[in-house]
């Protein structure tokens, strides 16, 4: 998934750099307050561990192999902010010491693998885990129950699949806006990247669960985010400091990062249904009920609409969880 220099349209590369710089600057600001000097060796060990784990190939079948990305594992073990900084360090070493991934493409590689992958992995894991809190069946490894194992697996799968999708979309956008001078056509990049990574992501999920189970049983302190308990704080402050709220923000950041590409690639043309209606000469009638909101035609309007939609969905989900008492058992 490491994009080399010269493959992407300069505009797409520039957007990647801007997105990466903004997010990592915020992450460094947060982590700068959190980190103590003695934390550095631990973060370095985790980064090195992920780097080395990426050298372990796993079999896919038919003689092909894949390798771990490890962003979800990192984020679940150490938290998303440390994972973003650590994954950035891994990518810098890969680019500068091994020539793996380019310099102009570094912003995109870092956005995909150091920001989108850990945020998605951790966000999905945190959001899914309460729904599976009822699965208390102990795995063979004692310290990890089935619900946690499934949540880790789903988070790891999503992190690889979403970051690979972002990479495929970047290549498709590069191709489209450059008239074929850069990137890879969507008809090739999207099925190839998604088809391959949907399977790679299964291996990632299984190995992440195995690593997590092993580390949790041998050295439970290594998993800060799993061993941490949510401390109930009443009111708005409690909601804002809850892991669910942080995971919601993580998923929203991924959405916000994807939007510029959407605007570069989106077509003014009619969608499938509109085109069929147009061809059949059917006019769209007046709506019975109209919404005061629109999806928006500018970046910030669409971002606002997305946040609104996501928060509304999250609130409905939280309400349902509250009604059916899901997640309380975990606390």
């Amino acid at each position: 998934m490491h994009i080399p220099d010269g493959l992407m349209d300069p505009m797409v590369s520039a957007i990647g750099w801007i997105e990466f710089m903004v997010v990592i600057a915020v992450a460094l600001l947060i982590s700068g307050k959190k980190f103590k000097e003695k934390d550095l060796p631990r973060i370095a060990v985790l980064s090195a561990g992920i780097f080395v784990a990426q050298m372990l190939n796993f079999p896919i079948g038919g003689g092909t192999t894949g390798h771990l990305v490890g962003a979800a594992l990192f984020a679940i073990m150490a938290g998303p902010v440390i994972a973003m900084v650590g994954m950035t360090v891994i990518l810098v070493i890969q680019a500068l010491m091994f020539g793996d991934g380019g310099i102009t493409a570094f912003g995109l590689n870092a956005t995909n693998m150091a920001i989108i992958a850990p945020l998605t992995g951790w966000g999905v894991y945190t959001l899914v885990k309460p729904f599976l809190a009822g699965l208390k069946t102990e795995t063979k490894h004692g310290k990890m129950n089935l619900g946690t194992a499934i949540a880790i697996g789903v988070g790891a799968w999503a992190s690889v699949f979403v970051s690979a999708s972002a990479c495929a979309a970047e290549m498709a956008v590069s191709y489209a806006i450059s008239g074929g001078a850069y990137g890879i056509a969507a008809t090739v990049s999207i099925p190839a990247m998604l088809g391959y990574h949907v399977i790679i992501a299964i291996g990632e999920a299984m190995i992440t669960v195995a690593v997590a189970a092993y580390v949790l049983s041998v050295s439970p302190n290594a998993f800060r985010s799993i061993s941490e308990k949510n401390v109930a704080v009443p009111g708005l402050k409690g909601i804002m400091s809850s892991k669910i709220a942080h995971a919601t923000v993580a998923v929203l950041i991924v959405f916000a990062l994807a939007l510029p590409l959407y605007f570069m690639y989106s077509s003014e043309g009619a969608d499938g249904l509109e085109k069929t209606m147009e061809d059949a000469g059917v006019d769209e009638g007046d709506a019975v009920l109209t919404s005061p909101f629109e999806y928006g035609e500018t970046y910030f309007a669409a971002l606002f609409a997305g946040i609104l939609g996501f928060v509304a969905t999250a609130l409905v989900g939280l309400g349902l969880m509250n009604i059916f008492k899901i997640g309380r058992a975990a606390e």
């Binding site: 561990g49 299984m206 041998v218």
Partner: protein
């Protein structure tokens, strides 16, 4: 090239790669590729090492080039191969001709935040340790008859691979504390400093100037200033 200041090498190569990545005129792309090959030839980095490293990046380059060739024609396909190769070769020369600590110290002196540069140094140190550990564990695994699993359905194989990775983490984290104590004993204070603070010499400035002139010429022609 090994004697040059790391900052000069980073600046020169970054400028060249940035410009080469923006080229779309076929003749200029090949000029960039030729310059990259000349740079590699003068770098004193063994050709075999460079070719081996280039082979690692080749699959991604080829997928992109073949895709562009199929959808946009042979000229653009070849252009894609040449452009990505020019950038990759220059980057591989920088990676191969610069000692790791010098490279990280160079980045720090160019303004990379100290938390990143210090983490780079520590992470690289632990990667070497952990990679050795992994090789030993793989050998032990092989001696016990495990050869890497068969497919994604081979759950036992995947479990063993997962446990191997987990074991690397656990063993290395034990060393991390001791490593940190060792660093403190040697006066480590959260920032990466090299023993000698070199200044940019005439050779370094000439190196940067050469890349600046070459890159400037390429981008000028690309923008059609002389058309």
């Amino acid at each position: 090239m090994g004697r040059l200041d790391a900052r000069a090498k980073i600046i020169g190569v970054v400028v060249f790669v940035t410009v080469a990545a923006m080229l779309t005129v076929t003749e200029l792309i090949f000029a960039a590729l030729a310059l990259s090959v000349i740079f590699a030839a003068f770098s004193q980095v063994p050709a075999r090492h460079l070719l081996k490293a280039y082979a690692g990046a080749l699959p991604f380059i080829l997928i992109a080039s073949v895709s562009v060739f199929l959808f946009a024609g042979i000229d653009r396909g070849i252009g894609m191969w040449a452009r990505t190769s020019a950038c990759v070769i220059a980057l591989l020369v920088l990676a191969s001709a610069t000692e790791s600590l010098q490279l990280f110290a160079g980045l720090r002196r160019l303004g990379v935040p100290k938390i990143i540069s210090t983490l780079l140094m520590l992470t690289y140190k632990y990667i070497v340790l952990m990679a050795d550990e992994l090789v030993r564990m793989k050998t032990a695994r092989k001696a016990r008859g495990f050869s890497g699993g068969r497919s994604l359905f081979d759950l036992r194989g995947l479990k063993i691979i997962g446990y191997t990775a987990g074991m690397v983490f656990v063993r290395a984290s034990d060393r991390a504390e001791k490593g940190y104590e060792g660093l403190k004993m040697r006066g480590f204070n959260f920032d990466l400093k090299t023993w000698r603070q070199t200044r940019l010499a005439a050779a370094d400035l000439a190196f940067i100037a050469w890349f600046a002139v070459v890159s400037g010429a390429l981008i000028t022609f690309q923008l059609g200033a002389f058309a």
